[in-house]
Symmetry: C2
Subunit: 95 residues, 2 copies
């Protein structure tokens, strides 16, 4: 969970995920969409990869990045815990 939340804690990386939702892209094409150097984007892609949010496949000179949505399922599960009452709780302090 740590790497996952860390990867998501950056607007550029979230933007990359949203772009990859539309279609797979090469590292260079991704970098072209941002006002940022290629090494910086490469670093962001590395963090997304560490979190297993994306997968990369080399095709010749190019490296294609694509979403891995199975991790999304895990994180959604983590959040859904908070929407179900743990012990049917109205054990709250009311005035």
């Amino acid at each position: 969970m740590n790497l996952l939340f860390k990867a998501l804690n950056d607007q550029t990386r979230r933007d990359i995920l949203e772009m990859l939702r539309e279609q797979d892209m090469t590292a260079g094409d991704i970098a072209d969409k941002f006002d940022m150097t290629k090494p910086s984007i490469s670093h962001h892609l590395s963090l997304l990869k560490q979190a297993n949010l994306v997968v990369d496949i080399r095709k010749g000179q190019f490296i294609y990045y694509s979403l891995n949505t199975t991790v999304i399922d895990d994180i959604v599960k983590w959040f859904l815990k908070f929407n179900s009452n743990p012990t049917e709780n109205e054990n709250n302090q009311d005035s």
Copy 2:
């Protein structure tokens, strides 16, 4: 979204959320659960509050913290985008 992901990007803060899922707690009681000073916990609570993930209510000397689950709905919605194929326009948000 920025404050939200920022708030979630810390194990201590995620632990606090999980504790508040069970029951509302005072700042002091929360701090007692961690090997960390009260000012540090107070800072974490401040970030959770900025993200609107928790709400605080003073009762006398004590300040009670409790979860705000409406924000969870928003973030889950953000994630569920990634589980529906954009080009084929399939909507699987019901669950």
